[in-house]
Symmetry: C2
Subunit: 399 residues, 2 copies
């Protein structure tokens, strides 16, 4: 496990910029001879991918698990976050003795291209200008992210991944891995995701983008140069997104109509209700760790994602003949990626003759359930990876 | 029917201010001797209520129907809107031969206190300063709105309303009328509403308020004096709210993932998807007709609404002994005010011994269904009002 020193929560502009170009992570750098071919038609070069690894690669390089992070996630799955000082974002699922067992597997997680934690993205320095890319950065897609990850896996000398695991936007990448590189993915665990973004999901993302771009401090995306920060717009975007990550029942259970540190309403626009304080906190803490332009690019990538559209509208066609073992997981109260979306994936996999198991987990925690302590989810993940490990000849501990 | 001349859609600051103080509607003005007692403890005086009427009051003043409007609605139910030039917002339900039959009933709709179409609100001139109230306007509640409406009904010489009808925030007012003035409400039609705002609903409203207040042009609510307009913030707030008014299925049916006037995605932040263009339009058209501070005040009023809390937590207690005939209507795909909320109302009314009928209407149109062409809704409204009219001795046409 890589040990990372936490930085104080509120970064300065230069600190944020440093994390973009010189991250507190391992780096794979690709020169002009190894461009990343983007769906928009641009060859991105040079570029870099920041990543973390945990555990040890075995002798025959057959125990690697790639974790794909969600929209506002990053590579810091199981170590202290260099910006926030908080524990890794998936320490519930990943670690010694956990379903993604770092005593047994070699676990890799990279920051997606377009992100802001060290992989090339809009806050990285554009070598052509010496300034941050901003909106000159080309629009990227989920397949682009996966293509970059494949280059990283090549760079690490791994031909085939034992498993690719992810939730939400991470789950989209899992599905894209299986479609793009079926021979390189032994098993795929896709959680709380879909093969295409719905109109409602696009609508919520567009709302968030408009909130960011409406902030005069966004400055057409050139806020680094102007010394500004679209803090208020990004905070509003985060608040909107955060509501979609929780179920109505979870919000009711956590907050109900309880007032914040008071007996009576103030009859003002203060945060009278606990849920208001909570949302304001979610918004303001997010802007300290995330880049506004990355938020635009990554939401856009999710909106564009549509596996079937890339296969003449036939989802089953995309997976035809797949040798990968799939496990698809949904949560009953997830209204952002409802179970109906997971069923679509499962139907397509069934129609394509792929091997798939499916679990819908009863919880009132909403979309965020994949990041929370949900024992049934861990049990299912553990059983799926155990069974896949046996089939893959990974019965013993790391060599 | 009052004929109103449409004004060009894009109002100037002075035009908006004029509509607030000197609306294109009838006015009931209350002087210092008739203050409006507000829940926050303030006596609001003087104040005015702008209203429209349709049809004729009969000789024994027994055929009056009060319509209560929703958050962004107004008194222009069945006439051309003075700002937008569009038809009245409830011409589907109200008019000759419609369920709320203007040939038979005397229909009244007033702008709520706190609104921006002529009833006293934050964009009205504060007589103490000669400037718009802005955030000096006292925070108002749903009971305050209803208290003001009761003063209007007194002013019109009507002791008892044949019916009170409304959806969403309008439905909240209907319920509050029945609780506050049970002897003055013969029948009550409460559509797509609840007796208290949920944590999720408060969260969406808080998001909208934060979007408005994040806009530097909001200027602490004093934008009229500064000659600014928090257009971008209010537009984002409207976009967020609008998503909640539609169901995911309705968004899918209307837009799916269709691109806007193009074959291929642009790989940019243009409105590639139709749903994005639609939302942007919803946002930008809203800011031409609605006041940003009113949006803050009216969302706040909805958040504070909690009938049970005002009756020792017992909802049934609030309705005990009610002589009113109730009809409660919900829509299957309304996730903002889901059927479970309507069932709570019905259970409380049953427990209190009140007379109530309940209909859940199957539709994929979401919360907005109450404003749209939903024949089952019209049939139920018609049947309920017919039956109530018989019981009220309103069998013949207007005298």
């Amino acid at each position: 496990m890589v040990n990372v020193q936490p930085v104080k929560p509120s970064q300065t502009r230069s600190e944020r910029a440093r994390e973009a170009d010189h991250p507190t992570s391992q780096l794979a750098q690709f020169g002009a001879d190894k461009p990343l071919r983007l769906d928009c038609g641009v060859d991105l070069a040079p570029f870099q991918i920041a990543y973390q690894t945990y555990g040890r690669l075995n002798a025959d390089r057959s125990n690697a698990i790639l974790i794909c992070h969600a929209l506002t996630g990053d590579q810091h799955v199981f170590n202290t976050h260099p910006v926030t000082g908080k524990p890794g974002w998936w320490e519930t699922l990943v670690g010694p003795g956990r379903p993604v067992d770092t005593d047994r597997y070699f676990v890799i997680c990279s920051n997606v291209v377009g992100g802001c934690l060290g992989s090339t993205g809009p806050s990285s320095t554009n070598p052509a200008t010496g300034k941050p890319w901003g909106l000159d950065f080309p629009v990227i897609t989920i397949p682009d992210m996966v293509r970059a990850q494949a280059m990283l896996i090549d760079h690490l000398g791994i031909r085939k991944l034992f498993a690719v695991v992810g939730g939400s936007m991470g789950g989209m990448q899992v599905l894209q891995w299986a479609v793009a590189y079926p021979e390189r993915v032994f098993s795929a665990l896709a959680v709380a995701c879909s093969t295409r973004h719905s109109a409602q999901n696009i609508a919520f993302h567009e709302l968030g983008r408009q909130a960011v771009m409406a902030d005069p401090e966004w400055r057409g995306g050139r806020y680094f140069e102007h010394g500004t920060h679209p803090r208020r717009g990004l905070s509003v975007a985060r608040m909107a997104a955060h509501i979609t990550y929780l179920s109505s029942a979870a919000l009711h259970r956590k907050f109900g109509r309880r007032l914040q540190d008071r007996e009576m309403p103030t009859f003002s626009f203060d945060a009278d209700f606990e849920v208001e304080s909570y949302l304001r906190h979610q918004g303001s803490s997010f802007v300290e760790r995330f880049d506004a332009n990355s938020y635009l690019y990554l939401t856009r990538a999710m909106d564009y994602f549509d596996i079937a559209a890339d296969h003449d509208g036939a989802l089953a066609q995309a997976f035809r003949g797949s040798p990968t073992r799939f496990c698809v997981v949904s949560f009953t109260s997830d209204w952002l990626f409802p179970t109906s979306e997971s069923r679509n994936i499962v139907h397509a996999l069934n129609a394509s003759g792929a091997r798939v198991s499916f679990a819908e987990i009863e919880t009132d925690k909403g979309h965020d359930a994949f990041l929370l302590d949900v024992p049934e989810f861990f049990a299912i993940s553990h059983a799926f990876l155990q069974s896949a490990a046996s089939a893959h000849g990974l019965n013993s501990a790391v060599s």
